[in-house]
């Protein structure tokens, strides 16, 4: 593989950080429940880390990402501050969206993170915007839109593919096909088992990739990002993956054991880590250090979140108007 050691290490670091972030997030959520405080819909990205990391590895700080309701991984991979994300989950003033957005609405425009979305498919037309702005200004910025296979049933997604293709916009649509939309299996949503034909029907390339193999994702995304940056227009990438957790904290597990085990065996983190060790890119000690480093960062982030102030109720009217 033609990826440098530091970049490989960084990809592994981000994947583990996402995984650990979700564990901490659940811890904080449960602390909330213990206080009788329900902290909203929390959608875990565990299991899908390879997608966000493999894609965002190609992005510059001035590239854009439109995220979904399951967006923690996208934010971390795009370079968001973990401590401010954690504070957001508790609705603190120090949160990445000043506590106004919560888990589904993390914004960091300074690094091109243009927000998650509570509306399934809601990000797909928004993503056309920064892409159009870049094209209009003649910059080589690209925009990535992450969404799930459930969102691919939304009409606006198709309108967006059509317009992206027609105007050759520098946008990459990344479908994270984790086989389930809440409690609805893909068999009840997709009459055809791949998304690529839809892309082709709109005249844009469609790639299908193993979403649990970060290097495979990295390769496909690289092709798509290069095309967009080079003025070659949009690409649709479907990454086949799986979420390890139930749809969100409050919805009970509904997927059968067997399926879950099958996918856990393909967990993207051990797969990637094993490969790096095998090929001597990293040593056991280096990986251990990495994990300690990450754990420390997340402990600190959780404390920062816990200790930060809540916004004052007198501020409810702030941030509405520019």
């Amino acid at each position: 593989m033609d990826i440098g050691r530091d970049e490989l290490r960084e990809m592994l670091r981000l994947m583990i950080t996402i995984r650990r972030f979700e564990l901490k997030a659940q811890e904080l959520f449960e602390e909330g429940l213990a206080r009788g405080q329900f902290l909203g819909a929390l959608h875990s990205y565990e299991g899908q880390e390879a997608v966000a990391v493999g894609v965002c590895a190609h992005l510059r700080e001035d590239d854009y990402v439109l995220s979904s309701h399951r967006g923690h991984g996208h934010a971390i991979a795009k370079g968001a501050e973990v401590r401010r994300m954690m504070a957001e989950l508790l609705g603190k003033e120090t949160g990445i969206s000043r506590g106004r957005g919560g888990s589904m609405h993390m914004f960091a425009p300074g690094i091109g993170l243009m927000g998650g979305n509570g509306i399934v498919g809601g990000g797909t037309p928004l993503a056309l915007g920064p892409a159009f702005a870049a094209q209009y200004r003649g910059t080589d910025q690209v925009t990535v839109c992450f969404f799930g296979e459930g969102a691919a049933a939304q009409g606006v997604f198709h309108e967006s593919l059509n317009l992206a293709s027609l105007w050759e916009l520098p946008v990459i649509y990344v479908c994270e096909n984790n086989l389930w939309a809440a409690t609805t299996p893909i068999a009840d949503a997709w009459p055809v088992q791949d998304l690529a034909p839809r892309a082709e029907a709109f005249g844009m390339p469609g790639l299908t990739v193993d979403g649990n193999d970060v290097l495979a994702v990295h390769e496909a995304a690289g092709e798509a990002v290069d095309r967009a940056r080079g003025g070659g227009g949009p690409t649709l990438v479907e990454a086949k993956t799986y979420r390890h957790r139930p749809h969100c904290m409050v919805i009970p597990e509904h997927r059968d054991e067997e399926e879950r085990e099958k996918w856990h065996a393909r967990d993207p983190i051990p797969r990637f880590e094993g490969r790096l060790l095998e090929q001597g890119v990293l040593s056991d000690i280096e990986v251990a250090d990495l994990r300690t480093e990450i754990d420390a960062e997340l402990e600190e982030a959780a404390d920062f979140a816990r200790e930060s102030e809540l916004p004052g109720t007198e501020t409810i009217h702030e941030h509405l108007w520019a």
Partner: protein
């Protein structure tokens, strides 16, 4: 009488109507296998089968359009939009199609459709999962709008809505599903368009809907030794039982409308308009509306609480309105 939860009352209403009428079918996201994310359609799949309990992809516009078309063709679909916020993705099917088809056809087709959904804040789900849109639906002619506050009302109104030959927006509240209340053992219906006096009083008429009925009753209790508050729940906004509201205002001379929707441009403003139109002379004080602050719902727990009317802020509003 049996003491049941709101969600159970809805579930019974649906099951009874499905038993009664083959043409009733269920359509929506996650309604079959898990019985709906709030459990309203729990058990329907095993009881009525996949033919009648149709779980859809995430395509509100398509399945709402399907429901409208099926209703034109004589079925009585009961569709579920998981959160009212998502109705923005099928507004054409609701406002331009369901509401207008009968009129545009010169009365030749009808749309016996119930669109169930749930509204409101209180779960820290932020701005796109906490809205209240009853004012939007009630503004567009052709839609009936039900917005029940108790298990008893929910069951009786839903059964009537399913039997109604017009499109009915049936607006539940996410915080009320576990609320318990008594319902009769035998079958009953509540006609659309009949208000219910939830508490009698002499000094101030409070019109409240959905969750706000409960908070208004708490507030009425809290101010009981200062003000005798009458709490009226219209239960449906279209048709609206204006007579009941006006009769109460003629008695008390004072009006406060409590709604969870944003204060500005909510249905409370319409109630104020109709009341001043009908019995201005009977008003001893300015009629008021107490609703949510005019902002998108913030995620942060204390902010969310500060945005929505509470028993405390309602009590304050009662004192102002009664002054």
């Amino acid at each position: 009488m049996r003491n049941v939860t709101f969600v159970r009352a809805l579930n019974e209403a649906i099951a009874e109507e499905m038993e009664r009428d083959e043409s009733v079918v269920l359509i929506g996201e996650d309604i079959a296998d898990c019985g709906g994310v709030f459990g309203v359609t729990a058990g329907m799949l095993s009881r009525f089968g996949r033919e009648r309990v149709r779980q859809t992809p995430i395509s509100e516009a398509a399945f709402t359009g399907l429901a409208v078309g099926a209703a034109m063709a004589g079925l009585r679909p009961v569709s579920e939009i998981m959160y009212v916020d998502f109705a923005t993705t099928c507004m054409d099917q609701i406002l331009n199609q369901a509401a207008k088809l009968r009129y545009m056809s010169g009365g030749q087709v009808s749309v016996p459709l119930v669109i169930r959904t749930q509204q409101g804040g209180g779960t820290c789900e932020a701005a796109q999962h906490s809205q209240n849109f009853e004012a939007i639906f009630a503004h567009v002619p052709g839609l009936k709008v039900a917005i029940p506050a108790t298990p008893y009302d929910a069951k009786g109104l839903l059964k009537s809505a399913i039997r109604d030959d017009n499109p009915v927006m049936f607006l539940e509240h996410k915080l009320l599903y576990e609320e318990k209340g008594d319902i009769p053992r035998e079958e009953y219906l509540i006609p659309l368009g009949e208000a219910d006096v939830k508490r009698e009083g002499e000094d101030l008429t409070v019109v409240a809907t959905s969750l706000m009925v409960h908070r208004a009753l708490q507030a009425a209790e809290a101010v009981a030794d200062e003000i005798s508050v009458e709490v009226i729940d219209p239960r449906t906004l279209v048709p609206l039982d204006l007579e009941a509201i006006v009769a109460s205002v003629r008695k008390t001379g004072r009006l406060l409308v409590v709604q969870e929707a944003w204060t500005s441009g909510g249905f409370g403003s319409e109630i104020v308009r109709r009341v001043v139109d009908e019995c201005f002379e009977a008003l001893k004080a300015p009629p008021r509306v107490h609703g949510s602050a005019d902002v998108p719902m913030p995620f942060s727990p204390p902010l969310e609480q500060a945005v929505v009317p509470s028993a405390e802020t309602i009590a304050e509003a009662m004192r102002t309105a009664a002054a």
